[in-house]
Amino acid sequence: MSKHSFIIDHHGGAAVFLCTQCEPEAQLYVHARHFLDNALAPLQVVMDIRDNSDGRQAIERSLPNDRTDREGMMTRIDDKFATLQAAGKKAFVTYIMAGDTDYDTSLEVMRGLPAAGVDVIELGLPFTDPVADGQTIQLAGQRALDAGQTLKKTLAMAKTFREDDTTTPIVIMGYYNPIYSMGVDKFLTAAVDAGVDGLIIVDLPPEEDAELCLPAKEVGINFIRLATPTTDAKRLPKVIENTSGFIYYVSMNGITGTATAQVNAVAPEVTRIKQATDLPVVIGFGVKTPEAAKTFADLGDGVVVGSAIVERIGRGDAPADVLAFVKTLADAAHS
């Protein structure tokens, strides 16, 4: 993969991105309010371009002009679901905590996930007060923080992963405060630079979309929302409205890693959501075994497993053993 370095300059109502290395010089005009606001002086951004695609296209994908233009834009997540759908397969999504049990261990596990059959990686951002998580993920966050993990290091981990995997979507999942503390603009710039594709921020409901969801959409990052059993028919459109990438259906009222998901409770809810949106619906919370992974993957467009994997990392299983377990889940979900 190659890095392209751009000089951004003003041009009337648009910004022009000039690549400093391409032959012939790649130019891209965008009505990028986001960049214009910040580009009082020409500034430099570094972007990832996919190996096998022509630079111009990829740039257009990762730098949406504005919200209306974005609708037609494909992200790495959209690509992945399109590819899976074409192959008649369900998505297998895993959650791991960045920095658990330390930076190197979690990077090693992360790097092995695509080969183990993982289609989308949720990279957990540790936080001291994870109110939506059960003990397994609480402890994982604590281990990561004790080992010195930060938001900066989590973005660095995503970026390192991107160096040799340009197709597996990375979704950062966590809580808002570390991002708010870094500053939303600064975070989004760094996330785009690191090759992050989506965000699941548990404590940002649609009522707070102006905080991060809308700015993220402007830079082409999917904001993936959770729909839950309490999301009734009246509320569902609001939940779907600014969601992109996929919808994460939370199988139960509760926290991660505790109860077991129940098919007869989930099935009608997934049907209800699928009637309201064309977005893929992925089911998570309370899925722990290969059998359950298959059952719930089949109910929607994919399945998420988190705590069952995090538990193995936490008890000190070697990355190879963790990945072997992940493979059994992936194989089942894909079968």
């Binding site: 809580y175 570390p178 708010y180 870094m182």
Partner: protein, 409 residues
């Protein structure tokens, strides 16, 4: 009065914001619940039968109005401002917390909820919740940090006597913040039958506004009582701040009385310094998002929440209600901090001079009174919110002063 453009009393806006603070930062599972609560509360606010029930309970069950008491010997000793104490420590259950609990439990009953959960630090909110649940025959579960279970043991036993289940929380440092985390985890798990009764002016909208409104009875009474006693408004209000509910309750009715100075007292722990061994969110923190609202928080450079430290379990919280954050930023109220040592001295002075054993929380407010009263003229009127009694704290104080309870045998 009532100049809406220049009023400080119109907040929050429809998104639950006081300026940039407040909001609804909760998971999707909880969103429909807090919207349902908001709807219920908006209805209750203008419903006369709701307020009639509140006033009846405040009068006959809590013992309101609480007196406004001229602390004559303290005033004399300090030699300056005239000091009044708003005696909310005389309420049933021994603190201001029950003012708010009654309001929330009436709402819970109207919403058909049968199980009440609460977080508690000092145990006063837990005791108040357990009390009102016992009165109405509701199931009550109280989350309390393991460290607080230890240092507020008398209150743990009171809650048990009242039929509540007390769940010690061992995550974090085992204080109020951790108790609130686990209460929120309980709530997302038990959405159908459970009502979360928050004990302070924090959490997602509508809690900060709702708890403030229920506690405002303190300030309303104080205003009338001061008019009756002195024929004019006070010059200065002083209250201790954990999450900030007793303070908001006293301050709110005076916000548009521009000549009234308003001072909130945060817990300075071992001193407001780089080591963060304190709970002074406004003095030593910066804005962040926790427990459903944006406010000032003690946090590190990465946005991880720090534990804080205070001898007083009720003040041992790394955040503060969003309305205080706003009042601080616009300069309508002033916020200071008082150390553990200063609070302990004030505690003893109050026992000595006034025959009142104060809780450690208002001892912080009193310590600030002790600091400023001597510098003020004799016709300067101070109201300090004596928001809780110290029975629950005698073990902590004995330990801090080097006594063994067994020594008295």
């Amino acid at each position: 009065m009532n100049d809406l453009f220049n009023s400080f009393m119109t907040g929050p806006d429809e998104n639950g914001r006081f300026g940039d603070f407040g909001g609804r930062f909760v998971s999707e599972t909880l969103m429909p619940l807090i919207l349902a609560l908001e709807e219920q509360y908006e209805h209750a606010k203008t419903d006369e039968t709701f307020w009639a029930e509140m006033h009846d309970l405040w009068t006959h069950y809590v013992g309101r109005p609480s007196p406004l008491y001229h602390a004559e010997r303290l005033t004399e000793k300090l030699g300056g401002a005239k000091i009044y104490l708003k005696r909310d420590e005389l309420n049933h259950t021994g603190a201001h917390k029950i003012n708010n609990v009654l309001g929330q439990i009436i709402l819970a009953r109207r919403m058909g909820k049968t199980r009440i959960i609460a977080e508690t630090g000092a145990g006063q909110h837990g005791v108040a919740t357990a009390t009102v649940c016992a009165k109405f025959g509701l199931k009550c579960v109280v989350y309390m940090g393991a460290h607080d279970v230890e240092r507020q043991a008398p209150n743990v036993f009171r809650m048990k006597l009242l039929g509540a289940e007390v769940i010690p929380v061992t995550s974090g440092r085992g204080t109020l913040k951790d108790a609130m985390n686990d209460a929120l985890r309980d709530w997302v798990t038990n959405v159908d039958d459970t009502f979360y009764c928050i004990g302070t002016v924090a959490g997602p909208h509508p809690y900060p506004a709702m708890v403030r409104d229920f506690q405002s009875i303190i300030g309303k009474e104080a205003k009338e009582q001061m008019m009756a006693a002195e024929g004019r408004l006070p010059d200065t209000l002083i209250a201790a701040i954990g999450g900030g509910s007793n303070a908001m309750g006293l301050f709110f009715p005076f916000l548009d009385d521009k000549d009234v100075n308003i001072i909130g007292v945060e817990a300075g722990g071992k001193g407001v310094n780089a080591k963060m061994e304190h709970c002074a969110s406004l003095t030593g923190g910066r804005p962040g998002v926790l427990h459903g609202n944006r406010t000032y928080l003690l946090q590190d450079d990465d946005g991880q929440i720090l534990e804080g430290f205070s001898i007083s379990a009720g003040l041992d919280y790394p955040g503060i209600g969003p309305e205080h954050a706003w009042l601080h930023e616009i300069g309508r109220a002033q916020y200071v901090s008082i150390t553990d040592v200063e609070a302990l001295e004030a505690f003893q002075l109050c026992c000595d001079m006034e025959g009142i054993i104060p809780a450690l929380e208002p001892s912080h407010a009193l310590a600030h009174v002790i600091k400023i009263a001597p510098t003020l003229p004799k016709d300067h009127l101070i109201i300090m919110n004596m928001c809780g009694r110290g029975d629950k704290d005698i073990f902590t104080v004995a330990k801090a002063l080097g006594f063994e309870m067994g020594d008295f045998a």
